[in-house]
């Protein structure tokens, strides 16, 4: 067995023909000198692959670590906007060894998240002594954290290198290998995060929704403190972080004392409460949610998909909550159910997707038909052909199909001139169009019909 190295993966990415099982037709993003652009982490290396104009992330593992099917199955099914639709491509990439042989390895494949890591933004802002930029980062982080704490999952390894700041200034967690998901309750954690951002007492036995608590509190205090005094980073940082959790919990953190004085002098009560929470002897911080509500007050109620029901008045459609109270006025001539926070509607003859506040999120006026969002994409029809858009309204798969169903488990059934097949989120056929009819995948299988015979197939198109 050979250790997997970045060199090994680069070898494959530089000469990819015949070394990928399903991914084809891509170019690897390169720098000015022609070298593959990489983002490396402790356990992995990430490449950017461009399929035409559509960018995707390819994550390859470099240590004795492999992606967990249970985690990525959850991620693929999740409707949380905090999670990108990442999935495992099993045994996808071949890596050579030095004995003339090699082996296949799993990868994680996902739409590329535009933006740069919080670590980059943080250090740039510190170099410029830009307090306003640091304050914006703090607010963005608090918003993301409040949302994250309301989810049923936890990230598990929050740190500046695992948070992307999008061009719109929002923060998105990446790297899902340390996730806690409900089905793993009662088990031990496979990873325990990065020591510099976690409570010293965190270990594998501590594995529930609260595994992000300490990192959330630490990062929020860090960003708020630096926004008030950027120079404290050079004065206090140790091991690459502003604060040392072991020093904090033993009551011996000059950095935290300084942060306290900054917050107290400005009446920043929520941040002071976070400082107290950081001194907890336990990694779980039950009061954290209340503090974040103070930091990020709700402006209006937010609704999940099942909370809003279609309601009709005078031939027009709108939405009401479960108590029958109108939330979105009936103004639409046609309207669909909410899915992943968006609903397809027709307003004054034009098709759109609206969000749960009733605002137009995606202008779909150039399409003749819109389907519900599933796994971050929606089938749309333009000029008689079906393709897919993403949540930003970008056409990520150009209209080319006779008919198209929604994505489920990373694949969508589509009808071409040759019959029905299945595409992946790259738009490429993963199962050839050879069936007379096809239905969506559920639990790893799909029902198809060919020459009058109905059968179930697996994700490789083989009969089950």
């Amino acid at each position: 067995m050979t250790l997997l190295t970045i060199n090994g993966y680069l070898d494959t990415l530089n000469n990819p023909d015949g070394l990928f099982r399903s991914l084809t037709g891509f170019t690897v993003r390169r720098d000015l000198y022609g070298a593959c652009e990489i983002r490396s982490g402790n356990n992995s290396v990430v490449f950017r692959l461009d399929f035409g104009s559509r960018p995707f992330m390819l994550k390859c593992y470099t240590r004795h670590k492999r992606p967990s099917p249970a985690l990525y199955d959850y991620v693929a099914r999740s409707r949380s906007p905090l999670l990108t639709a990442a999935r495992i491509l099993p045994q996808e990439i071949w890596v050579f060894d030095y004995n003339g042989g090699g082996s296949w390895h799993d990868v994680v494949f996902a739409p590329w998240v535009e933006g740069r890591h919080l670590s980059t933004h943080l250090h740039e802002a510190l170099r410029r002594n830009d307090r306003e930029a640091l304050a914006r980062l703090a607010r963005s982080f608090d918003r993301m954290a409040r949302h994250l704490l309301g989810e049923e999952f936890a990230h598990g390894d929050l740190k500046p290198d695992n948070l992307i700041v999008t061009p719109a200034g929002e923060m998105k967690p990446v790297d899902y290998d340390a996730l806690f998901i409900p089905s793993l309750a009662g088990t031990y954690a496979a990873e325990t995060g990065t020591p510099g951002y976690n409570h010293p007492a965190r270990d594998a036995r501590f594995f529930d929704k609260h595994i992000d608590d300490y990192a959330v509190a630490l990062l929020s205090v860090t960003l708020h403190a630096l926004s008030l005094d950027p120079g404290m980073y050079d004065r206090y940082s140790t091991g690459g972080t502003l604060f040392s959790p072991p020093q904090i919990v033993t009551g011996d953190s000059p950095a935290l004392e300084h942060a306290r004085s900054l917050f107290a002098g400005r009446g920043m009560h929520a941040q002071l409460r976070l400082c107290r929470l950081l001194e907890s002897q336990s990694p779980a911080l039950p009061d954290l949610g209340a503090v974040l509500e103070q930091l990020v007050p709700e402006r209006k109620p937010s609704y999940s998909d099942g909370d809003l029901l279609l309601t009709e008045r005078n031939g027009l459609w709108g939405y009401a909550d479960r108590q029958g109270r109108t939330v979105i006025e009936p103004v639409f001539s046609r309207a669909g159910e909410f899915s992943e926070g968006l609903a397809a509607v027709v307003l004054h003859g034009c098709r759109h997707y609206i969000d749960t506040t009733g605002q137009v999120a995606i202008n779909g006026s150039r399409y003749s038909s819109l389907k519900s969002f599933s796994e971050g994409m929606a089938a749309v029809c333009r000029d008689g052909a079906w393709g897919y858009i993403d949540r930003n309204g970008r056409e990520v798969i150009a209209p080319a199909f006779v008919t198209a169903l929604s994505f489920h488990e990373g694949m969508a059934a589509v009808e071409t001139g040759q019959g029905w097949g299945y595409i992946g989120q790259s738009g490429l056929l993963r199962i050839d169009a050879r069936f007379d009819r096809a239905r969506s995948f559920r639990d790893g299988t799909a029902t198809v019909e060919k020459e009058g015979r109905i059968m179930k197939i697996d994700i490789f198109g083989e009969p089950v």
Binding site: N7, N42, V45, W94, Y98, R116, H117, T120, D161
Partner: protein, 284 residues
């Protein structure tokens, strides 16, 4: 011990000692090419340096997680091979340094059985050399001085301890076993607050031996009953726990108390040991 995370503020140090004595002119087969041992070992070191640079790449550029020194020892003495003026170089500086690049065409068998001709660009950070005797004691003394100075820096107090990786194909020509053992002990006694320096010795096989390489032995009984193999065993550090999963995966067996040494190693073994000795350590 050996729990410190490698960060930009608390980098660790790798010192690679390369035997460049005359016997390194012997031929070996590596990656389907016939090379001298000096060329093959230089390639292994080149790949390690590339790997360390790539492992340091992040969104914001190349981070300086490591202080890297490569020292050659031959009949011409002991010299720094990465930079004439100084020993330690950091990844961001290496990434910006020009180095000789060679296009190597390889013939490989693809998984489907087809033959592929592919070209790789190999960065030559180290120029191979094979000349004269084996002043290993002098090289280890240089390493000792580097390590002692590095550990004494206040900024490195909390850092992951240095690792010295010594690649040789023969015995020292400038000291006896007792002197080498004493120097190895002194070198390993240099420490940060996170633990003592690690010394890993890799012995490259002689063509005529033709025996199976032994890497990371967990007992002296795994080694042939030879004075030199026993000497390397005594000189080498016991590998800390964090290396054990990778070591067990490579050895394909359980075991404990693995010694940081390899005897009668092939070039593949050397690459494996270099990788385990460096990239097993977490960065933050």
């Amino acid at each position: 011990m050996y729990t410190s995370q490698i960060t930009r503020q608390t980098p660790t140090a790798f010192i690679i000692l390369i035997d460049q004595s005359g016997s390194m002119a012997e031929r070996v087969t590596f990656d389907d090419r016939v090379l001298t041992k000096a060329e093959a070992v230089a390639m292994a070191a080149d790949m390690l340096i590339d790997e360390l640079i790539n492992r340091s790449r992040r969104d914001d550029g190349v981070r300086d997680y490591y202080d890297i020194a490569v020292i050659g020892y031959s009949g011409d003495g002991v010299e720094s091979l990465l930079c004439e003026e100084e020993h330690f170089i950091r990844p961001s500086r290496l990434a910006g340094m020009p180095c000789r690049s060679e296009s190597i065409i390889r013939e490989r068998r693809l998984p489907d059985g087809q033959i592929q001709l592919s070209t790789i660009e190999h960065n030559h950070w180290i120029e191979p050399k094979a000349a004269g005797g084996t002043p290993m004691y002098e090289a280890l003394t240089t390493a000792y001085n580097l390590v002692a100075e590095w550990c004494a820096r206040p900024c490195n107090r909390n850092s992951y301890p240095p690792t010295v990786l010594n690649l040789t194909d023969g015995e020292a020509s400038d000291a006896n076993a007792e002197q080498l053992l004493s120097l190895a002990r002194a070198l390993k006694s240099q420490s940060t607050d996170d633990g003592p320096t690690l010394l890993i010795n890799m012995h490259n096989c002689r063509m005529e031996d033709g025996r199976q390489g032994i890497i990371f032995p967990s007992s002296i009984d795994e080694l042939p009953p030879q004075r030199y193999s026993r000497l390397l065993f005594e000189m080498s550090s016991t590998m800390p726990l964090l290396y054990h999963p990778d070591i067990r995966a490579i050895r394909g067996s359980d075991g404990e108390n693995f010694k940081g040494m390899g005897y009668n190693c092939s070039i593949n073994n050397i690459i494996t040991m270099l990788n385990i000795g460096t990239i097993s350590i977490s960065t933050q």
